[in-house]
Point group: C2
Chain length 408, copies 2
């Protein structure tokens, strides 16, 4: 008998029929003698509907009330799923975030889980119940409803698995696992049977939508065995996220991620003296704008050019901040560009294989794709290219690194 946490996203519970399907899958695991905790998102479309209502009332809706509002989405799903489970003759009990309770900090709309009390859930599990928990939500120290932000249901699933010391956390989604890259861009993309936790973390942070990054961080911190599976197909073991760094058996590169979410800002003719980068980024941080890649070119005439990327939706705000910073630091010009894309290759094999970067750059050059910025970590290389070349770059790299074929 194992204790399994299963998480189903909005598409997987998007209709009454799909909720029934989830109940039937849960029933199968229960019949095998397992204890099952199910975490669900709001039915697809519901969260956006609620946010739409809020924005009709307040341009910038109050965060505390936003959490009260959107947390109803998951509450509807837990009730309906419990009804479906009971309709199959199973014992089931729903839990909102505050009923668990899942304690978080007070950062409304993007709260972080601080503590989970597993006592009530465990008693229900031991009494033979399927426990159904609302994802994405919690309660702070003053009894306020909080939410973990978009994709937070993954994090709830992993955090519950950690708190309950579950044998496995299964993330059911609309794809049957983690792919070398998005099959919609590269038809030859291949499902991975396993991927290391670090690679998954990089992929998630680089724009792969399969798993929410904080859930992967959580899984890493608490060594939760995580598996990505399809909620629509019964076949297959999905992709297991492993903690063994068995790169000997792995390809050099495991996957290619990409996104068009970013915009690039450049300040030209910045006086090349200590503290300038700090002034620029300090002003950006004060405006609550997150920065991703940062590049500074060494200057020859006593000035330097300084570039960084932000989320595309924040380009306008960031440009306004830089316009003010420009005169303060005596820079020449500020430019912004949202016609960019980020393409990244990820793989723990990179650590021990030289020449990965040069192979990447050569592959792109062979397609005449100009690289605007480069950023690297131990197991990933990201480049910024003009956005119209994104698909071409992904396909070229997928082939160059042998991802089209099964690794040796």
């Amino acid at each position: 008998m194992a204790l399994i946490v299963q998480k189903y996203g909005g598409t997987s519970v998007g209709s009454i029929e799909r909720i029934r399907n989830v109940a039937e899958r849960v029933a199968k695991f229960k019949m095998l003698g397992h204890q099952v905790v199910v975490v669900v998102s709001a039915m697809s479309g519901e969260t956006n509907r609620l946010i739409g209502l809020a924005k009709e009332i307040q341009k910038d809706p109050d965060p505390r009330e936003m959490d009260v509002l959107v947390s109803t989405g998951e509450q509807v799903t837990i009730a309906l799923l419990c009804m479906a489970l009971k309709d199959l003759g199973l014992k089931a009990k729903s839990y909102t975030g505050w009923q668990v309770p899942i304690r978080t900090d007070s950062a409304h709309t993007k709260a972080r889980i601080e503590d989970i009390d597993d006592q009530a859930m465990r008693a229900d599990l031991d009494a033979g119940h399927v426990v159904v928990v609302a994802g994405f939500q919690g309660i702070d120290g003053e009894n306020n409803i909080t939410t973990l932000g978009r994709g937070g249901s993954d994090t709830t699933g992993v955090a519950l698995a950690a708190a309950l010391k579950a044998d496995e956390c299964q993330i059911y989604t609309d794809v049957d696992g983690v792919y070398t890259t998005d099959p919609r861009i590269v038809p030859e993309a291949r499902k991975l049977d396993t991927i290391t936790f670090e690679e998954m973390l990089e992929l998630a942070s680089l724009g792969s939508k399969v798993l929410q990054i904080r859930s992967v961080e959580f899984a890493g911190k608490y060594k939760v065995k995580l598996r990505v599976l399809s909620s629509f197909e019964d076949a297959g073991e999905g992709t297991l996220i492993t903690f063994e760094d068995n790169h000997m058996e792995q390809a050099v590169i495991s996957g290619i991620a990409f996104n068009r979410d970013e915009a690039k800002l450049t300040i030209l003719g910045v006086p090349d003296k200590p503290g300038v980068a700090g002034s620029i980024l300090g002003a950006i941080a004060d405006a609550n704008i997150d920065v991703d890649m940062i590049v500074q070119n060494v200057g020859s005439d006593g000035t330097t050019d300084f570039s960084f990327t932000v989320h595309r939706s924040e380009l306008k705000k960031a440009l306004e901040v830089l316009d003010m910073v420009k005169s303060a630091i005596g820079a020449r010009e500020v430019t912004g560009d949202d016609k960019i894309a980020k393409v990244s290759i990820v793989g723990v094999g990179m650590r021990t294989h030289a020449g990965v970067a040069s192979k990447m750059f050569k592959s792109l050059a062979a397609e005449n794709i100009n690289i605007q910025m480069i950023s690297t970590s131990e197991i990933k290389i990201s480049v910024i290219v003009e956005d119209k070349y994104m698909e071409l770059a992904v396909r070229a790299l997928h082939q160059a690194f042998g991802l089209d074929a099964r690794p040796a």
Copy 2:
């Protein structure tokens, strides 16, 4: 400075625009220096939508999960109303039932309020917040979400007014007060400036939809000053429910209520011996069917006929029960009739004025309306008539008792 509790029903918060209107009305009271607690229902249609989802899954939905599900309706409204209040520059804070907390018993879908903790609300009121509470919901001793049943938001409003010792509880609805009868049936129906608590209680129990009966009981028990007003018109003081029995200034009859919610059952040829009525009603009660009017005719041949009314939706079930009882008690025949209506006249003046009943019966006879059953209390007389005569009966009585004109 007064402390006012305002309750807005589903129609009053049925759209974003209407929620804005409610916020503006609340703002006016706040500007006058009052402390305001607002209780809201789910947006109109929302509760039925949720119940519809549940019934798609389970024919007879699990009551605990039903409460988890439908309580989201009011939770959406409190969040949206707080946003609208904040958009007007007011301080506002929403409370779900469990956040107050409003403690109830564990009777899911029809729980009763046991206790309200006013501490958190009072602190927020003193800090200048408008407090917005989800109607209709509470929490039981085991942290389960409960609901008070249909119309329960009125009860929440009155119970909060009692707990906070509010100066007035204002029930905003789609009519501008309590009428002598439904103006859709009798165009001459007149709005009452005041009505006694007892009359209101009878009217509510007899099918007037203006106030939910348990809220009136609650108001009576805790002497809450209750006022019914329109949420769509600004003019008028509505109808105040008073505790003074000032019938000297009142008409004999205050109002006429009616409904088509009931069905009549009759057992013919019942052996006329002690305990028979008990056996019949005991069997009905065991089947969880509520009985309203009961009439037993004295028999001449050693048998008697026994009639009672139940909610129309329970006629089939009640007939099945009676068919079993019939043979057990040796009765001759069981009949059921759902083509009936109940018409009632209500007024504290009845206590001191003789002849009210005969005047009622004569008025109906003058219209050739046959009376099938009669039931009386100190301040009301109800009759069962064939349902096609209901409107005619109401109009005849409205005129006969001088309700068309202003009372002397």
